[in-house]
């Protein structure tokens, strides 16, 4: 077989598993998977995953670091928690998928044009600004995330929805100018900054 390469031999060790255990949210659970596949069968977007959760867990154990971290798969998680409640081993699978995606993003390995990745970043940036999500700005940013021309097209496509939302007072153009927010947005930002520092320092410790 063409895949019988030296790299695979080298990597079929616990190293990546240990990296995941130390760096990924709930990563210490990965070793407890018993490969039954209930998670994969329970996922509403299962068919859209190149590697369903069961397979990702096996790939982690098999040391397939690049393949896992650059994968599009965990970005398909809709956070429906179906896998979590069905897993006979009680693995917090949704959280592990979130953790893997977040870790891949942090390392700069997550696929650049992954739409959920883009949306997730926009969302966080949006909420950090004032402490609350500004749906209008988030929506507009989302439409233009693939460039200006694409954005106009998407926005036009969504025009009717916007109109419906506006008519029923479930969207306000006023939100574009300031809008809702926390009074102590500064304090919130300081909290988040500190939390990020603590998390990064811990990772540093493992990786050094």
């Amino acid at each position: 077989m063409a895949d019988l390469n030296v790299a695979a031999i080298e990597k079929y060790r616990n190293n990546f598993l240990k990296e995941v255990e130390a760096n990924v949210e709930e990563g210490e659970w990965v070793k407890m998977c018993m490969q039954c596949g209930v998670c994969s069968g329970s996922c509403p977007l299962g068919s859209a995953w190149d590697h369903p959760p069961q397979e990702l867990f096996m790939m982690i154990r098999a040391g397939k670091r690049e393949e896992v971290l650059t994968s599009d798969s965990m970005w398909m998680c809709t956070s429906c928690y179906n896998c979590v409640v069905r897993c006979p081993r009680g693995l917090p699978i949704t959280h592990i998928m979130h953790g893997l995606a977040s870790y891949a993003l942090r390392l700069g390995l997550a696929p650049k044009n992954q739409p959920t990745r883009k949306f997730a970043v926009l969302f966080w940036e949006n909420l950090v600004k004032t402490g609350r999500v500004n749906e209008l700005k988030l929506g507009l940013n989302l439409y233009f995330m693939n460039g200006f021309i694409e954005g106009i097209k998407t926005a036009l496509g969504m025009q009717k929805i916007g109109l419906g939302m506006w008519k029923t007072k479930r969207m306000s153009p006023m939100e574009f100018f300031g809008g809702h927010g926390c009074k102590d947005a500064k304090g919130l930002q300081a909290i988040l900054k500190k939390a990020r520092e603590i998390e990064d320092a811990k990772r540093q410790k493992f990786n050094s």
Partner: protein, 299 residues
Amino acid sequence: MAKKEYSFYPGCSSQKGASASNYQTSVDAMCDTLDIQLNEIPDWNCCSASIGYAEGGELPRIALTARNLALSEQANPGQDVVATCAACWLSTRESKDRLLEDSQLMKETNEALAQAGLKVQANQKIRHMVEVLIEDFGYDELGAKVTKPLEGIKIAGYVGCQTNRPFGIDGESFENPMYLDKLVETMGGEPLEAYDKKVQCCGGALAFSEPEKSQAMIKDIIESAYDHGAEMIVTPCPVCQMNTEVYQEHINKKYNTKFNMPVVYYSTLMSVAYGKGYKESGLDGQIIRAKKLEEISKR
């Protein structure tokens, strides 16, 4: 009956001019009838929902919800935190559980919160509004307040994901929760017994980033309701409500369907059944109008 008070976490989508503002309107009307006082957590912030994880990471995400808990402890000591939004409830309850079981995480979170002079203990109960209704009132008591029963309306109880998993409403099964059906029945309506997409995912936040895939799932949710003879869908979740309501026209175009299914909140049903008016019940917030409810509210 004494007034019941709770520390209230409304969430971003419930704000004025936001996507679930009509949810808030109907919740207010419902609470008025039930004599519930919701004490809003002052200066609450976003929970980061089920999408903030990627950029946010673990500790910042938990610190975010911990700030709300800390503020609730300050302003509304001793009161349970109640959320109406599924994501707000889930994120907050999850953080609370994690903080209590992991002392290191608690220490680090408080270290972060200290930047804004806050401290969290996380020992209050975090509850969804539906839990308050079922546990603190009960179906009988909720039914006793009905003045305009929703007679003859067949309603599909679409529970969705995050009010159902991973925590769920106490005593309900993950695969076939019954509380929405029971609530519909309590309000005099007719629940859809064979609704097989009751706990199907609508795509959640991926409705924005993966519209094709999400709309395929949304189509199934609405189609099953139609196939079993429903006249409207009821849901406890703002994301479910929005996803199943606003994309119907897109879906009609793509799949050559003729969906025009109103999607309302349980609180909308209850407000109408409790005799509240069209606007009070948030019926003006329906993009697809719930005409049967409008008729009853006008009676």
